[in-house]
């Protein structure tokens, strides 16, 4: 854009694009960018509920034998917190960034199936509404987000909350499968000329592999949900142990979905980290091939580890060998990633923007969650610590300290692209430091609670249990800091939309294709797709003296590409 023109006209922003004006342009949209943003806003909407629930949980547990919440209500709250965070916050954050950036990063105009894309979003949103409607319909579900049989059956939970849970998850599950197919087809068919699989940005690599994971994992959940619904409504006997059904069958189904699911939540975040760290270190990603390949390895392994959620169910030692071995193996490809990211930073010239700060904290916190995960793969350790607060600490380190920190790194990185405005770096830093303190204060101590004998999912704990009172109080106070940091983040997102610095096309000197177009991109994405001759299509433009060679980028020399 002509610099003089830019100075006189109001800065380009999401609010000034004529095609994106008015509510109708959004609700009727099949534009992947609008759908992506709506996914993110939907996630934010449900995140506020989940945060409120988290605060209620921490308020109830702040002191022993608290009577603030009845057990009935507490159980609804923690069930809704878990279900919301996984299905209505984590998934739409992942899907939103995936459908927004996949077409942009491969130089496509939109997703392969724009209407299917919109369908995926709307069933997610209404599925979420339906889940929350259960509060008004009498009772929210209260069997936990994993809803183990036979507690999830009518014999034990007569209220309708569990039925709403089933239908809501079926809806969001159907939408996820639709979007997964859409992402796979988009990446396979709509890459711009020259964008070979060897040159695909790592975010797209990981999003694509993730789509395969969703495609194969979600049906297991949907199947189990239909079986549960048949049990509850038609008196089928799949999981009703009293009549010969199997309690463990549900767990096999659930975790056959559930363990890939946790990788579904983290793989695209690995992609974000693989974009953010190189750009802010001013170096190419270290070991592109190992990073992409290790993701494929994780995807395969993730389907062979589900029974590590069942080490205390009496499946027997031979079964445990297999699942312990496979679970520990996952540490290897994950470790490769961590070391490759560290090597990317090594020798770089690192700009510690807020995005990079979050990516750095991700590396450290995710390592803690990963190491405690390996500990859980050791069956005997699991025999002590599973279903204790140690496991609550573990998965919050992976999902909050890992996934959410990574997503936030991505949002600070891409917000300028999505809105045309920069987020405030000053408030970003305050957000970052408060969040690091709040997060670690809330969750690190939970390792110790587990080691001091506190089971998870309890609405209270005895007053005479040593240390638990003070540890829980520390955790609850830190949770306030954590929530404060997130409020600052939400405020930053809102205020920067109006007051943020104009972003320009490429504020971070990024080199993947999304930075080659305007911020925010026009509805058609690109006026002209740049020539893609290597992994960093925009690098040559910024550094004509040090062009990226196609050979170094891992591609055969001499191939002519346009």
């Amino acid at each position: 854009m002509n610099p003089e023109l830019q100075a006189s006209a109001p800065p380009r922003s999401i609010l000034t694009i004529p095609e994106y004006r008015g509510l109708l342009s959004w609700v009727s949209s099949v534009d992947h960018k609008q759908i992506g943003i709506m996914y993110l806003l939907g996630a934010l909407f449900f995140f506020v509920f989940a945060l409120t629930e988290a605060l209620l949980i921490r308020a109830q547990l702040a002191v022993p034998e608290n009577t603030l919440l009845s057990p009935e209500l507490y159980n609804q709250i923690f069930t809704m917190h878990g279900t919301t965070m996984v299905f209505l916050v984590g998934m739409p954050l992942i899907l939103g960034l995936s459908v927004y950036f996949t077409p942009l990063m491969i130089g496509a105009r939109d997703m392969a199936f724009p209407r299917l894309n919109a369908f995926g979003f709307w069933v997610f949103l209404f599925g979420g509404f339906l889940l929350y409607f259960s509060f008004l319909a009498g009772s929210a579900p209260l069997a936990g987000w994993f809803a183990y049989a036979p507690l999830n059956e009518k014999a034990y939970l007569f209220n309708t909350g569990q039925d709403y849970w089933v239908i809501a998850l079926l809806l969001t599950g159907a939408g996820t499968i639709a979007t997964a197919i859409n992402i796979i087809v988009t990446v396979f068919t709509l890459r711009a000329p020259g964008m070979t699989f060897q040159r695909l940005p790592l975010f797209v690599w990981m999003t694509m592999i993730n789509a395969f994971l969703m495609l194969f994992a979600m049906p297991a959940l949907n199947t189990a949900l239909v079986m549960l619904f048949a049990d509850r409504q038609l008196d089928a006997l799949f999981f009703q142990t009293g009549q010969g059904g199997s309690a463990l069958l549900w767990r096999h189904y659930f975790w056959f979905f559930g363990h890939p699911e946790v990788y579904i939540l983290i793989l695209p975040v690995f992609g974000i980290i693989s974009e953010v760290i190189p750009v802010f270190s001013r170096k190419p990603i270290y070991g592109y091939g190992f990073l992409a390949g290790s993701t494929v390895a994780i995807a395969f392994l993730s389907f062979a580890v589900w029974a590590h959620h069942m080490f205390a169910t009496g499946l027997g030692l031979p079964v445990y060998y297999v699942f312990a071995g496979a679970s520990m193996l996952i540490a290897v490809p994950t470790g490769i990633k961590i070391f490759n990211w560290i090597a990317t930073m090594w020798g770089g010239s690192i700009r510690f923007t807020t995005s990079m700060l979050f990516a750095t904290a991700f590396l450290i916190q995710f390592t803690i969650g990963g190491l405690s995960g390996v500990a859980f793969a050791a069956v005997p350790i699991d025999w002590q610590l599973t279903d204790s607060y140690f496991v609550v600490a573990h998965f919050h380190y992976t999902l909050l300290g890992g996934m959410l920190f990574g997503i936030i790194a991505g949002i600070y990185y891409w917000y300028p692209k999505m809105t045309g405005r920069m987020l405030s770096e000053k408030w970003g830093r305050i957000h970052f430091w408060l969040m690091v303190v709040g997060f670690n204060g809330t969750f690190f101590v939970m390792h110790l609670m587990g080691l001091f004998g506190m089971p998870r999912r309890v609405f209270t704990y005895p007053a005479d249990m040593p240390y638990l009172g003070s540890m829980n109080l520390l955790s609850s106070c830190s949770a306030l800091v954590l929530v404060l940091s997130l409020l600052i983040f939400i405020g930053n997102l809102a205020v920067s939309l109006y007051r943020g610095e104009p972003a320009g096309d490429n504020p971070w000197e990024g080199w993947s294709l999304e930075w080659a177009t305007a911020s925010p991109p026009p509805p058609e994405n690109f006026e002209r797709v740049p020539r893609i001759r290597n992994r960093r299509p925009l690098w040559d433009r910024q550094h004509p003296d040090q062009p990226e060679s196609p050979l170094e980028a891992g591609h055969g020399a001499g191939e002519v590409l346009s």
């Binding site: 057990p71 030692l317 279903d387 004998g453």
Partner: protein
């Protein structure tokens, strides 16, 4: 009282589990220090400074990358082998051994049978100190999990399935535990106490559990006996040698010999007992025992009777 922590093991199983945990902890801390150290070193050493030249554009090094594939592979292989070893130490095959204790988990209390003698108890499981016992566990309703961290591995109580595990205590004492698998409203108050006693004391306890309770001694207690039998109490609870043969709630034959009420909610004393039988829904909301309307005299009689069930 003992802290129910896996870090303070009081049996050979728990000690083996703890040792593996220590080893894995040391390995994990070492790995963490390497990773965090490198990240923090990078952050300070390679922070952008004004006038920085463009860094060397380094695309990777297969040899290094293979190294940090193989080293973790070796580490997890070692951890896997250590785990297998500990699994066999903690959970040896029971072969033909009959279980010493049969535990049935209920929403939200524990029932324990001693098949050798026929003794029955609830929520407070006695074992002889210094002896390795095999227990068998199942559930009467939903999935529960028996977790007494100082004495045994955690094991699920799955309806329709029998699981077995080993339990022992080196020294006499009271060891605390709880249900670790979410099982509904009162999951938090499904606590368990394991009382390890010297062998002779344990035998005496077991013999005592087998004894039928004496007939009520005072007139008040015998009125209380009739209250118990005529009100719904006897539908759910059993008192050996009486018409009360309910199997839904805990066996009360030797209620007075237990330290707590309602799986750990209240200390067992006459005042608490009176409060509990009147408004259990206040102390354990959601539990299967409903509130009852007793007139004050009936309540006093009932407590007088229950007090005698030592």
């Amino acid at each position: 009282m003992n802290i129910p922590s896996p870090l303070i093991p009081a049996s050979s199983q728990a000690r083996d589990l703890d040792q593996l945990f220590q080893v894995v902890l040391i390995i994990s801390v070492a790995i963490f220090l390497v990773v965090a150290g490198l990240v923090i070193y990078n952050a300070f050493r390679y922070r952008q400074r004004p006038g920085d030249a463009l860094p060397k554009q380094d695309h990777g090094n297969h040899r290094l990358e293979i190294a940090w594939t193989i080293v973790p592979l070796i580490i997890v292989t070692v951890m896997f082998l250590l785990s297998v070893r500990t699994m066999h130490l903690v959970d040896p095959l029971p072969l033909d051994r009959k279980p010493d204790i049969d535990i049935v988990a209920h929403q939200w209390w524990w029932e324990a049978h001693y098949p050798a003698t026929g003794a029955v108890t609830a929520n407070e499981i006695h074992i002889p100190a210094g002896k390795k016992l095999l227990f068998r566990i199942t559930s009467a309703d939903v999935v529960h999990d028996f977790w007494v961290p100082q004495l045994a591995q955690k094991i699920d109580a799955v309806p329709g399935q029998m699981n077995v595990a080993w339990i022992s205590a080196d020294r006499p004492g009271v060891y605390l535990g709880a249900c670790a698998e979410y099982c509904g409203a009162e999951h938090a108050w499904m606590r368990v106490r394991v009382v390890a006693q010297p062998q002779a004391e344990f035998e005496r306890w077991q013999q005592h559990q087998l004894r039928l309770p004496a007939a009520p001694t005072s007139e008040q207690a015998s009125r209380g006996f009739h209250v118990f039998m005529n009100r719904p109490c006897s539908n759910c609870h059993r008192i050996a040698g009486t018409p009360a043969q309910g199997r839904i709630g805990p066996d009360l034959t030797h209620l007075g010999s237990r330290k707590t009420l309602a799986a750990g909610v209240l200390a067992n004393n006459p005042g608490n007992l009176a409060a509990w039988v009147t408004v259990p829904q206040q102390y354990k909301p959601g539990s299967n025992m409903p509130n009852f309307q007793f007139d004050p005299q009936q309540l006093k009689d009932l407590i007088a009777y229950l007090k005698e069930l030592k």
